[in-house]
């Protein structure tokens, strides 16, 4: 049951992404080289608006890369696909579908019969403590419950890769921690690759095998940090000395970066 994942390898090679043309063109990502092993949990950490989410868009297949190469399991990514599940920030459940129908959606798209998809949706929702809410509509649930349904909707399809774009950032601290622990246990059991975008240092360090730190826009990979903390991880880890030390080191990296653009814009102003 704990055999290592063999699928879900991700490779980015010299990936650039820019939006628009001419004078209004904005470069979001610049020369991203990144290899992620099957079953690895990698966080992408960077300042707000740096282009973190653009990486998720590219991996998911709805943002076109401008140059370079992006492959998942040696296959070039050109369009969205169910083998790469995406969990967005919030409010992306279909408001017109019940909790159960939301979770069944991916199975329905694959042509799985009604009885089977109802059973699968019920099973996964029950296992996530949502058995009483199958017939509820999303707006009747709390934010934390909605994100659990969101996770279930993606996981029921057994994706090789799960892409998460600041999925817990709108939750209160207590619920967020519960969701982080839930995610870790699901990841441990289901052997999938996770790419987790966040601007929260604690969250990145707590969850990941590896944290990729991005620069300000256009985002480049500034550095990466291997997290050697033992697993399974629980909330106690958050207050341990090694975690605090790691956090200090990471914060220095991030804050050092935040000072740079001020210098850049000054020198740019002088040159004009």
């Amino acid at each position: 049951m704990t055999q290592p994942a063999t699928l879900g390898a991700i490779a980015l090679h010299g990936v650039d992404i820019h939006f628009g043309e001419g004078k209004t063109a904005v470069q979001a990502l610049s020369g991203i080289d990144l290899k992620i092993e099957p079953g690895e949990f990698v966080s992408i950490l960077g300042p707000s608006g740096c282009g973190k989410s653009t990486i998720i868009g590219a991996l998911a297949g709805f943002t076109k890369i401008s140059s370079g190469e992006l492959r998942v399991d040696a296959e070039r990514v050109t369009a969205p696909g169910p083998e790469r599940g995406v969990v967005f920030q919030q409010h992306t459940l279909f408001p017109w579908k019940t909790v159960a129908k939301n979770v069944e959606f991916g199975l329905k798209m694959r042509g799985i019969g009604k009885a089977e998809r109802e059973r699968k949706a019920r099973d996964i929702l029950c296992s996530m403590g949502l058995s009483e809410f199958l017939a509820h509509y999303p707006h009747q649930l709390s934010g934390g419950m909605q994100q659990r349904v969101n996770l279930a909707r993606v996981l029921v399809n057994r994706p090789r890769v799960i892409l998460m774009d600041e999925p817990f950032c709108s939750l209160d601290a207590q619920t967020r921690l519960q969701m982080q622990e839930l995610l870790l246990s699901l990841w441990h059991e289901l052997h999938m690759t996770v790419v987790f975008v966040t601007h929260e240092v604690d969250e990145a360090l707590f969850l990941s095998d590896r944290v990729i730190v991005l620069t300000q826009r256009p985002a480049r990979i500034k550095t990466e940090i291997s997290i050697e903390l033992p697993r399974p991880r629980t909330r106690d880890l958050l207050t341990s000395p090694e975690f605090v030390a790691l956090k200090r080191q990471t914060l220095e990296l991030l804050l050092g970066d935040a000072l740079e653009p001020a210098k850049h814009s000054q020198s740019a102003a002088h040159s004009h």
């Binding site: 696909g81 279909f94 996530m128 403590g129 246990s185 059991e189």
Partner: protein, 301 residues
């Protein structure tokens, strides 16, 4: 493979049993709240019903006084029938086949014109909202036609169609078409892009996106458009019937004026009001049936 999924998910969840039970108080509160809300709603609804009825009674009383005493104070009430006269006229007409034929003709025209308009404008609106090419090619001509009131179409409609009947259905169609079209386009454009992305990453094809996301996502806006369109189609029909009609409640009202049967004018007006209100209620009711998930105040709560 399937049992592996279940077996795999379950232990993970049991490890989080404490985390989940901590949320249960919150969940219980959420499930209870709708029942309490509807209790409060009942006494408030009763209260507003009583106030509404009292207000209508007050206005009717004033009108009765004004007509009986033939007040001529800016408004000339000397020729205006009193509510009691209107009621008498209503008693005479109740069940009269001719009056029923007037109402039946109008309802049939509304049904035809409104059905054609809603079918066509919802389809066009979905296409215009979703596809740039459709927006670029279809929207400009429609934008030129849109500001023309349905009433202004009447002379041309008489020339365009062989019978007065067809031209009146056409006017009804025109009245309903644009409000529904605009609301539909607006509804499609207002759909959260991430819902489309979410459906794509879950394996939806282009047709699935249309059926599962675009159509339900635009539905609240479409229903609003239908309800506005129903109002404008009645407005247009009554005008068309007054100008070129034979039978129909608009024709009846205008005929009453030319024959100086004044209570019948008011009777016609009230009938138009009731028909409009009834059809609008019907649309809201159908809308609620199709959208049990839709709560207009959900974002506020």
């Amino acid at each position: 493979m399937e049992s592996a999924v279940q077996g795999a998910v379950a232990p993970g969840a049991s490890a989080n049993a404490t985390a989940l039970s901590a949320l249960s108080a919150d969940e219980a509160a959420l499930t209870n709240s709708p029942a309490r809300a509807s209790n409060v709603g009942f006494s408030q609804r009763l209260r507003s019903l009583i106030i509404g009825a009292l207000s209508i009674a007050l206005w009717l009383g004033l009108w009765q006084l004004a007509s009986v005493h033939k007040w001529n104070f800016f408004f000339r009430f000397e020729n205006i029938p009193a509510p009691s006269e209107v009621l008498a006229a209503f008693g005479e007409l109740y069940g009269a086949p001719k009056f029923a034929a007037h109402v039946g003709n109008s309802v049939r025209r509304i049904f035809l014109g409104f059905s054609l308009a809603s079918g066509l404008s919802v389809v066009l609106g979905l296409l215009i909202g979703r596809f740039r090419l459709a927006a670029q090619s279809l929207f400009p001509p429609l934008e030129i036609l849109r500001p023309i009131p349905a009433v202004a179409w009447i002379p041309l409609a008489i020339l365009l169609f062989a019978s007065a009947e067809q031209s009146m259905v056409f006017i009804t169609f025109i009245g309903a078409f644009f409000p529904i079209l605009l609301s539909t386009v607006h509804g499609v454009e207002g759909i959260d892009r991430r819902l489309v992305y979410a459906s794509l990453t879950l394996g939806a094809g282009p047709l699935d996106v249309f059926r599962e996301v675009i159509l339900p996502g635009a539905l609240p806006s479409i229903v609003t458009g239908l309800s506005i369109g129903m109002g404008t189609s009645w407005f247009s029909l009554v005008t068309a019937e007054m100008i070129s009609g034979q039978f129909g409640i608009g024709y009846y009202t205008w005929e009453a004026y030319t024959l100086q049967q004044y209570p019948k004018i008011v009777l016609g007006m009230i009938t138009i009001g009731l028909l409009g209100m009834g059809s609008s209620f019907l649309i809201k009711w159908v809308g609620r049936r199709f959208m049990p998930w839709f709560k207009p105040d959900a974002s506020a709560a």
